[in-house]
Symmetry: D4
Subunit: 253 residues, 8 copies
């Protein structure tokens, strides 16, 4: 949204030609940059409360660089790039100041911010192999301003490992439960806490895990209340949502 446009809208409000509410919608619903191959939303913080994030899979390094520069040029302070292969990260490093987290496959421009407020997000995993999805979730939440506690390899077949961490879990504003195979972690965690649990099925497993379907179904059918589910391996989505819940807890509208 160019400055002139905004001025014009506000002038109309002043002259009474349009109502303030209409102006708000106009401002929220308008602006993006047309790069031909992409239309990044330079106004996203207004509509969504968090800046535009780049999904790196299926985009060339050049396309990613183009979008990142458009966002930075429009004044966005920090750019998060998910599903960024190591090789593309190398290429991007030539033109952009990029921090790369290889387990999470995340690139970050602008550095991790200080956590906002006192609340925290807890990230738990069923096993060691689920950790890269967990890291995507944890880093996303951190990049958006949340404090994160990691509790890994506490799968339900050794229930004592999870119970030993019940105290920590009950301090969180949101818990992200990451598990493959039978995905039972979400249900047990859901029964231990009184905050929202975001379940992330992972594609970890073999045979009848069907690349995460078994865990996905288990989580959708969780008999615990307060549990909702995101796509298989979608650490980013879980981290985004957990941060949103965490930030809004204790914040008056």
């Amino acid at each position: 949204m160019k400055r002139e446009e905004l001025k014009s809208i506000l002038n109309k409000v002043k002259s009474g030609e349009i109502e303030p509410e209409e102006a708000e919608e106009m401002i929220r619903l308008e602006p993006f940059v047309d790069l031909g191959y992409a239309r990044p939303d330079t106004h996203r913080e207004l509509t969504q409360g968090a800046a535009e994030v780049i999904y790196g899979e299926g985009k060339s390094a050049a396309q990613i660089a183009g979008i990142a520069q458009a966002l930075l040029g429009a004044g966005q302070e920090r750019v998060l790039i998910t599903r960024l292969a190591a090789q593309k990260a190398d290429e991007l490093s030539n033109s952009l100041e990029l921090e790369y987290f290889d387990e999470a496959l995340i690139g970050l421009i602008g550095g991790l911010p200080e956590p906002v407020g006192d609340g925290k997000v807890a990230v738990v995993t069923g096993g060691t192999s689920d950790c890269h999805v967990a890291e995507e979730a944890a880093l996303t939440a951190e990049a958006l301003g949340s404090r994160v506690q990691r509790i890994y390899d506490v799968g339900v077949a050794g229930i004592h490992r999870l119970l030993a961490n019940a105290g920590d879990l009950s301090q969180a504003n949101a818990v992200i439960a990451v598990a493959g195979m039978e995905g039972a972690l979400a249900s047990v965690v859901g029964g231990l806490v009184d905050c929202p649990v975001i379940a992330v099925p992972t594609s970890v497993g073999y045979g009848a895990s069907f690349h995460g379907v078994a865990a996905l179904l288990a989580m959708l059918n969780s008999c615990a209340s307060g549990v909702s589910v995101v796509n298989i391996d979608n650490g980013y989505g879980a981290g985004y949502l957990a941060n949103m819940i965490n930030q809004r807890t204790g914040k008056e509208r």
Copy 2:
């Protein structure tokens, strides 16, 4: 949990035999009533922040009555019974003071409470046929203490109907998006608001909707951030979670 048990635990804390944190876990993790066919959790408000709810499907009226009485006897103020067929509701009315909501298939003992706080939950549906699931969600949230705004039949094939309600949606602390068929509602709503969106796929549709699978998959793959998903037709789960988020927004820990 009987009074003596509690007293014993607290005495041990006083004498230093156990630490307060241990005592908290003991108290939170213990009590339920064993009815033989069921073990309702009479202590659930402590562990989960909301009282035990009865899932009516697959239980006889006698079993439901038994569980309800156990909960009321343990001091629970209000009992919500979901998936309660009209005929069982009739039977229950003989022995219990039950309010019955037929579109939502919900029975309620103890009446709807006054909403807590100023926040609200919005419930939107794609079509008229999704309304009974939406009502299950709305009534659950209301029974747990949330103010609810209903916005029905605003499916994306007539996008102007949804946009006309964008202002209302942006005021909510949580939005429940209920849709069958192609389930696209969640994505469009997710792009309009900055609060969590809980997507509820419904079994409305025919042919390749596969009883809600098409909507479920669409919602799991939503390209909007802040969207998570519950089971097909799970209005209760969505209402429970939306209320949890709504109640915790603006509440310091």
Copy 3:
């Protein structure tokens, strides 16, 4: 197997014409009665260690009666009929002395035997609605000679209910874990005991439970060792196997 046939085989053994091992196979592999519509195995205790059982579904009352009489006529002491609808049980009662267990849909001729040995089988369920499958399992094991302990409605979303029974579980020779929805019970139980756990997914649930598929997949992917799975709702199969394991525990070959 008619007496003459057996005599002939044994004579051949005596005369050295065939080896004893061959004779054993001949005797084990031969006999059944041809009723036209069915060939019940009157020799099953020799080959399988347990008498022939009638699967009632899809057979008429007349066919069931015919098979039962063939088995009784061949000297079988007790006949178990599974998946027996109440109405067929009524019809059978006219001609046979049948005990009927309606929750388990089981008919029994010859009465429940005294348990053999000191061992026991434990049957646990996730919820109240899983009980009819659990009863099919429990009664099957009892009819075959096992002592059975029932522990119902101890689903993992309230993990304290299960942990409160951990002592009982650790006394069993085999545990049958019966659960629908997310089927997580098997994994948690599997981590608590050191005997075989037989997981029975049930069709309890809705939406993405897909009539038991979610629970089935979860159980097949259990991260606990010592867990194996039978078909959805197959209480009989689990009871049969649990009894077999229970009977053989502590029995020298």
Copy 4:
């Protein structure tokens, strides 16, 4: 169809031996060239209104060259080769004058024609990653004679990007909506225009997108009228059909 054959048929018509209608069917239903491994249809423009196209996948460069030469030899002016890997395109360039479009994986002999008439086809995509399928569609339509307008990266989670192009969309004779993930684009577009919308699900996505199945189901269940669907990633089929509709709009029979 050799000249003699055609003459013979027409002579029979003249002599009254066969009716003109019969002759038309005979002519339309006959001719192809038998190359052993393939039978390209050298008469396709008569039966189908558009020349034979070569599907490059699973054919060797030699086979493709053979078919192309058979078609050119039979007088076909332009040959379109889809799903043509870059390496095969290189090989073909030695013997044929081939233009290669690498994003669309399309090879073209004979060059792009001038658009026929004033109508146009619009191609919209949900995201940047859908563009190679969109290009297959766009180039196919162009190769067959349509004017094409590309509107890329206008997914529904940022609905303002799509609405900003509503005017352009309403000018098209046919719209091709290309989207992966939740595939909601087709429904929203279908609600904005009054011409046929051809929905192309793409395999873009991960986890529960199941290589395009989520988008496919969403599109089949579209609540907008005027929407039909082609196979996952089938840009060619959509471009072919869109051109057919575009060409026939405004053409008297």
Copy 5:
């Protein structure tokens, strides 16, 4: 849209305050009636080129009557109600002048119109059992103004039955191919004509037809060009689209 609103918009255009194109969008995107349970689109002919249709499944007779009256009240000349059970049709007949087509499960208020133009739509079926879906398609197209030719029971296992009708098919502006079981009809028809073929899989069949999935997949994979697919049993969608194509053929923009 009330008259005053329209007047206001047009005045702004006249005064140059808004451009005519903007006004067009404003007018097209606005109006619907809010009935609480439904928001029928009273302006749909402007946006979509065809009046609002009521999907009868899952709506009560009272709801259908309410929507129909809202549409008639807003000046819509003719109301089509699909998936209308015979009993609801009876109820509606008391308050509305309804014509009922029982094979198609269609109710029509306002009568069938005279066909517009000379073009026609052909509807072909694979078997006798597919006819009720075919009738839904045929009547929809007729109600929207198309001339329809029915060619039933011409499945591909007796290919001569279809070839005998090839002449008729080649005269149509659009062909609707309705088939269950293996759904091969669409491919063969697609190879015989040069106009769009809309394939409608039906749930006719058993076993591995999976309620229409076999036919759906076959049609999506059709090797004939110009074929697109709608949902299983979606006769209405096919009829709507076929009419749209038919009406636009030979119509200058």
Copy 6:
């Protein structure tokens, strides 16, 4: 095909105008009766070697009667009606001389013929519940002229029951193996005989049998050679094919 038409064709052959081979094709590819709702093939014995059969499911008694009379009127000696519900059979009995086989749901006009030749078809089933599908197969083969031997309830879990019939099986020209549940019968039978085995999966079973899918997949993956598969519960198809193979065995072309 009317007599005059045939005469005309043959005259043309005589005069040398058309070749005998062309005439054969003309005669084979032409005739059917158009009843509006159906086009029964009155010439099917020429093209397919067996008369037209009526699939009763989804057709009204009146429609069935109409088709049957058309076939009888065209000189067909015997009419087989499959999937014929008992009630429709009753209705048909009023106007037609119909023999009804209730286990097989088959109606027959014209009586069972004497078997042709000495060969036979064997029909084996895994269990008692598979018998109605087996009877559909057996009666179809008998109605078309084959001698049939039934061997029922010889499932592989009691392999001695099957081996006891190995001699009979090895005498057959074709074996139909009918089984639900795990469908293993086809593989074992396939290893015992040297004639074609036609495997028929049945929908007998529960849970993970998925209405015959488990048996279908097992049969498709049979490690025995000479086994092919028809649709779930398709006794008719198996009987038709088995008869075809049986009749052609020992018949010179």
Copy 7:
């Protein structure tokens, strides 16, 4: 089976100790060679009417060589090896006289035999890409003694290409119909011939072909009689069965 064993059996028959029928079963059911990793059946021609074939996939070259030599050593004249990768074929050529057919991935020791009798098998394909599966079928049938006619690329979207070959098809004793994508070929062919049609779905296609599932389902649901199906890409199975049918046609038992 060693000579001594056979002699012993026959002596017992002579002496009347066992009946000839029993002896036949003994001889047919016994012999194989135990190689540790495999037990090839050196007596298969007696039980199955065709010699043992080696499935090359998942076996090392050394294992294949071991099995082949065991079979040749037991007197088998010709050894067919299917799914044999080119590299393994090279390795085998060092120790065995192997003819390799690369399109079919078949290795043959002992050479192709002269066809037995006058009958033939026809192999038709829908497209060029189906040819390698077709070649596996054709070569298998030839290796077992059948004359084979190949008719490739006659898919149903250009129905005239198939009809032009109808005469050839009607001369075959068995037809193998090989097709991917929508798999409609089997139904059309099934309607044109009066001999068994063996349908082979192929994994050719993309998107919703699901690696051959679409074709498989279409073929299982074929509305033509006389069609049965083998596994996806199972050219060998089809060739084996077609040869069996072909050889037995015109052969008295």
Copy 8:
């Protein structure tokens, strides 16, 4: 569990403060080592009767080494590592004394133990390609202390190969039946023995085997009693369970 902790518990028991049963649970439910990326259970022999096993897939060589050393350090005598790729085994060999079994992909530290007791486990496979899964099962059972008998390549299509081993099978305390493709082996074996049969579906096969799903479904639907199933290719799980059953047979509680 540190020594002090254990001492403290035992002191409390001595002083009567806690009951011995409570102490047992405390000891059994506590200890693990937190490595950050993993929490191996150093006390597993107490809770589960067998030491902790490392699942090598998805863990780096360094992580595996870390876990192995933690277990050895805690006094575990033998460490089994499953799904261990050859290259990682090489790396581990530098720091650990590892025996590597390449067909089974198993690494073993501490050597194979002498078998405990006289009982044995039998492992049977359907084909040669199933052997690597069978070896994983066999070696696991051996590493845990069982005597194992291997009987490979006895698939049901050559039933005599299996029957020839019936004597051996009937001597086992548990049978592991490993098969891909149609998975029929489990049912036939289940009918021959009177001990538990653990069925392991393998991903061996192609087309409609769907990577083991066909075998999995067949085994879940086994009509033989005493059969239960583990995940596709889960040789480890089967070996673990078979050993557990074998060890407990003939052992008094």
